[in-house]
Each structure stands twice: as C-alpha cells, then as structure tokens.
Symmetry: C2
Subunit: 153 residues, 2 copies
C-alpha cells in the first residue's frame, strides 16, 4: 500500500480508499455495514493507535454496541486492515496498517502523550532476516520515555 496518508478533515474516505475497503470486504463475502464504515472513518481520521473504548466513545449516536466494536476490530485485524499496538498498559490499541511502515511512536510514561517517530533504519534489519529465510516480515516498535514538558515540571 503506497497511498499517501491524506485524509480530509471530516474523516470521510477519499474515493480510492472507499473502493479498496469495499473490495476487501466483498472478496470475503462480508457486508458493508454502518458500524464498519463508521469505525473505519474513525481509524482513518486519527493518526495514533486507539483503544477499543476510545473508538467506541467516538462513534456518533452511540447506538453501536461495544461487542460490535470488538468484533469489528478483530475482523479488521484478520483482514489485514488494522494492526494491534501494545503500549504496555492494560489496553489494546489499533491503527490502520498502512501506517505501520511509515512511523512508530514515543509514549511519555507520565502524561501518556503519543508522538510519532519517523524512521527507515529498520529496513537493514529486515534485509538480514530475509537472508535468514524469513518471509512476510513485519515489526512493531515503540519507544517510552519522559517528555520534555513532564521534565520541566
């Protein structure tokens, strides 16, 4: 996926992404439903990993059951649409998978602020793994620290 991570401000899909989303679901005889579309929009309009309850809280109208949110994220994960991110607290977080190779995260251990870290240094390591015989390589990388504003208090 080499699509620019451009989104418009209301969280809607651009036509290309909408088509791709539909075709993934279609190819698995899965249905395009309101909860799935809404959750996809929420993921797409946020550039940090979100917990289940954050996603649930952002659903307008609040009519969507928590269970549906769980089921939808599990489904998206199986379909390769989202990736699960671990910040070493009690919550699982999810983000769109095409961001995975573009940035990682720094999490302040005090205020929990999340910032992105841009890097391509890992390509070297992946090449080594390929030589070892690994295929379909992915990785997950998170940094933790105390941010400058917490340090200044």
């Amino acid at each position: 996926m080499n699509k620019p991570a451009v989104k418009n401000n209301n969280g809607n899909f651009d036509p290309v992404d909408a088509a791709e989303f539909r075709s993934i679901l279609n190819s698995h005889s899965l249905k395009i439903t309101k909860p799935r579309i809404e959750i996809m929009k929420i993921l797409r309009s946020n550039h940090k990993p979100l917990t289940i309850s954050e996603i649930s809280g952002r659903l307008k109208g609040k009519k969507t059951d928590l269970v549906t949110v769980y089921r939808t994220l599990n489904l998206f994960e199986e379909l390769g649409i989202v990736s699960q991110i671990d910040f070493k607290d009690e919550f699982k977080r999810y983000e769109l998978i095409y961001d995975r190779h573009h940035h990682h995260h720094v999490v302040c251990r005090k205020c929990k602020k999340v910032e992105n870290v841009e890097t391509c240094l890992l390509d070297g390591i992946e090449k080594i793994l390929i030589k070892t015989g690994y295929t379909e390589i992915t990785h997950s990388l998170e940094f933790f620290g105390i941010c400058s504003s917490c340090n200044n208090k």
Copy 2:
C-alpha cells in the same frame, strides 16, 4: 525440561547476580523469599520471554500459587528487574531487563519459534529523541514473519 534440585549451574545465580538481586530487594525493604528466588532463577536460565503460565509450570514442586507468580512478576517489573514483552497474542511475556538492549526477537507467525536479533541501529533513534527532550528512554521491538522451516513445508 530439567529440574535438578540445587546443584544445576543452569538455574543458579552467580555470586554477583545474587548479590545484586538481594540488594535491590533490600533497598525497598522487601523480603528474599523462596518464590522470588525460584522465579528469578527461571528467568535467568531462559533466554526468551516467558508467559506467566510458562513460569508457573517451571516452578518445581508446584506449591507456588499462581497469584504469587502474578504478584512477583508485577513487583519485578516495578523494580525494573523484568520487562514486559508483547507478541500480539493473548499472553503477556516477561524477560530480564538487562537483555533489553542486547537483542530483540523474531517470532514465526506459524510455529511461534522465537529467535534473537542482535542490533544497535536503534541508538540513532534514541539520540534523536534525546534531542527532542525525552529522558529515560526505553523501547520495545519485535519482528514477525514466517520462518524458513515453515516456508519449506
């Protein structure tokens, strides 16, 4: 697995580590108990992150309650003795923290085999973060892929 009672090199502390372990606990007015020592030995004689139930299963005699294992690992984490590792399945894993900067892991998505990855490339990224004002930086890095033996089946 092997569980010789007292004499096995494999699970025993060398004098230095034993002293360090004791002094960490002492400095917090914590007690040096059999479960804590046993769990420390298990962590020390394994070079991969272990789940709670793996640790529990390796405790000889099986007299130690699961609750104690949980409490001990949480304590060790607070004390900075172990680090929690996430392999994107349902289990938390723990490993001794002084391994953290020496290697990371590749996990085969099929057979779940764990291998180590040696690298220092991340030092560059940490330096950038330090310039941004972060302190006390740590990171967690895991790779996932399909290993060569799984690929050959």
